[in-house]
């Protein structure tokens, strides 16, 4: 195999040209996921560092985040702007401080490991990814993660979500042994309250056998009810299966999951004034 070639495009046109025309060339975001494997198996790496993709803006009711924005950038931004944001809650305790300065939003969506702290919040926010390459334009994040055709020979340039989606009470649970552990799974939830009633709810668990699952049974059971009257202990939690992981067995994860969904939901509902 020949020597690994690096590409440093300065325009989106160059990115598109390289990703569509060269075999064995993959995007390079922060490199933390790529380095888990054998980097030499690639023919080339397409570095996205010279395209100005590290930014967060808010316009026309949308929050837009460049693909090269790091977890650290997101945490610093929302700590000042809106520490109730579900993205902030999901990322503030993820990985470690130096890793957060390297892990990119775009790379984390494309990589989507079972321990991902970001994906639950992006599902809840109905985020969209903007792609270039063999497919171009805005795509729903749920389509991106379930359709290999959107992943192959494409590059995520940015993501966006409607700000109105991020107005409720949110929480994020990480199944870890110590805070800096990889989570075995995560639970992310956002509950909208109107007149002390649950107006809407969105709950995702990431790291399951099916990679992730929306907890529709729990959502249905609480929507429309008065927050103070919901007995979280009595909720029928959706059936979710886990693979055994180095840190926890599948049975343990299942038990932990059921306890923690109820606990996080109770915390959120109790915080409703």
């Amino acid at each position: 195999m020949g020597e690994l070639i690096w590409f440093f495009p300065k325009t989106v046109e160059e990115v598109k040209d390289i990703i569509t025309s060269r075999e064995g060339v993959v995007p390079h975001g922060g490199g933390t996921g790529l380095l888990r494997g054998d980097i030499k198996r690639y023919r080339g790496l397409l570095d996205l560092g010279k395209l100005g993709l590290s930014y967060i803006t808010e316009h026309n009711g949308f929050v837009e985040i460049g693909a090269m924005t790091t977890y650290g950038d997101v945490v610093r931004y929302f700590k000042k702007k809106d520490s109730k944001s579900v993205l902030y809650r999901s990322l503030v305790d993820s990985a470690t401080t130096p890793l957060k300065n390297r892990i990119t939003v775009g790379g984390s969506i494309a990589y989507f490991p079972p321990w991902s702290d970001i994906m639950g919040s992006l599902f809840i926010l109905s985020a969209e990814v903007f792609l270039t390459g063999e497919r171009e334009g805005w795509f729903k994040i749920l389509d991106y993660v379930s359709n290999r055709g959107l992943y192959r020979k494409t590059v995520i340039l940015k993501i966006r979500y409607n700000k109105d989606k991020d107005t409720g009470y949110s929480a994020h649970y990480r199944a870890v042994r110590t805070r800096v552990d990889h989570p075995a799974f995560t639970i992310t939830l956002l509950v909208d309250i109107k007149d002390k009633r649950v107006d809407d709810a969105s709950i995702y668990v990431v790291g399951t056998k099916d990679k992730f699952k929306k907890l529709t049974a729990v959502e249905k059971e609480i929507i429309g009810k008065k927050a103070s009257e919901i007995d979280t202990e009595a909720l029928n939690v959706d059936n979710v299966e886990f693979y055994g992981k180095p840190q926890f067995t599948s049975e343990y994860q299942k038990a932990l999951f059921e306890i923690e969904v109820k606990r996080k939901l109770r915390e959120v509902l109790e915080s409703v004034k």
């Binding site: 020597e3 690994l4 070639i5 690096w6 390079h28 922060g30 490199g31 933390t32 790529l34 380095l35 980097i39 030499k40 790496l45 570095d47 560092g49 650290g72 990985a95 470690t96 401080t97 130096p98 890793l99 300065n101 390297r102 805070r179 800096v180």
Partner: protein, 156 residues
């Protein structure tokens, strides 16, 4: 491949293999103060400042940071002219074997730049990527607090 790195304020042109990690490029070029622990992003022994922010140099492909500013612990102070953070670590007894210390100092430097008066919780968070097998962290936390006072006094 060849590339320029700005290491501790000096432009260095370095020949390196395209798959190399920043950690290896630094150590192979004399910056052995950057320590290699786990190579997996878990221990923080290899932490350097990259454009002012702490990163695990074992998790960075060197080619992706050409022309960027890298600061190792040697860029902060020397044995004859130590940085106040380094003095604080020694005075607080926060150094035993010393293997984690370069990474700890870099993370402390980044913390104090952003937050000159950190509380215990801020310190825990900022140093969450730096493991120490010797001290038990109590003295490290004390050292960071002492460093905060010293840095404010020295204006560094």
């Amino acid at each position: 491949m060849r590339g320029v790195f700005i290491i501790n304020g000096q432009r260095k042109e370095i020949e390196f293999a395209p798959h190399k990690r920043l950690l290896d490029v630094l150590r192979e070029n004399g910056y052995t103060e950057v320590k290699e622990g786990c190579r997996e992003g878990e221990c923080g022994a290899c932490v350097v400042l990259l454009d002012g922010k702490p990163v695990n140099s074992c998790q960075v492909l060197a080619a992706s940071v050409m022309e960027k500013e890298i600061i190792t612990v040697r860029g902060l102070g020397t044995i004859h002219k130590p940085h106040p953070i380094e003095e604080a670590f020694v005075e607080a007894g926060a150094v035993q074997c010393g293997f984690c210390t370069p990474g700890m100092i870099i993370s402390t430097y980044a913390l104090l730049k952003e937050n000159p008066d950190p509380e215990d919780d801020d310190i825990k968070r900022a140093l969450d990527g730096n493991l120490c097998r010797c001290t038990g962290y109590v003295k490290i936390t004390k050292a960071v607090k002492l460093a905060s006072k010293k840095v404010k006094k020295d204006g560094k």
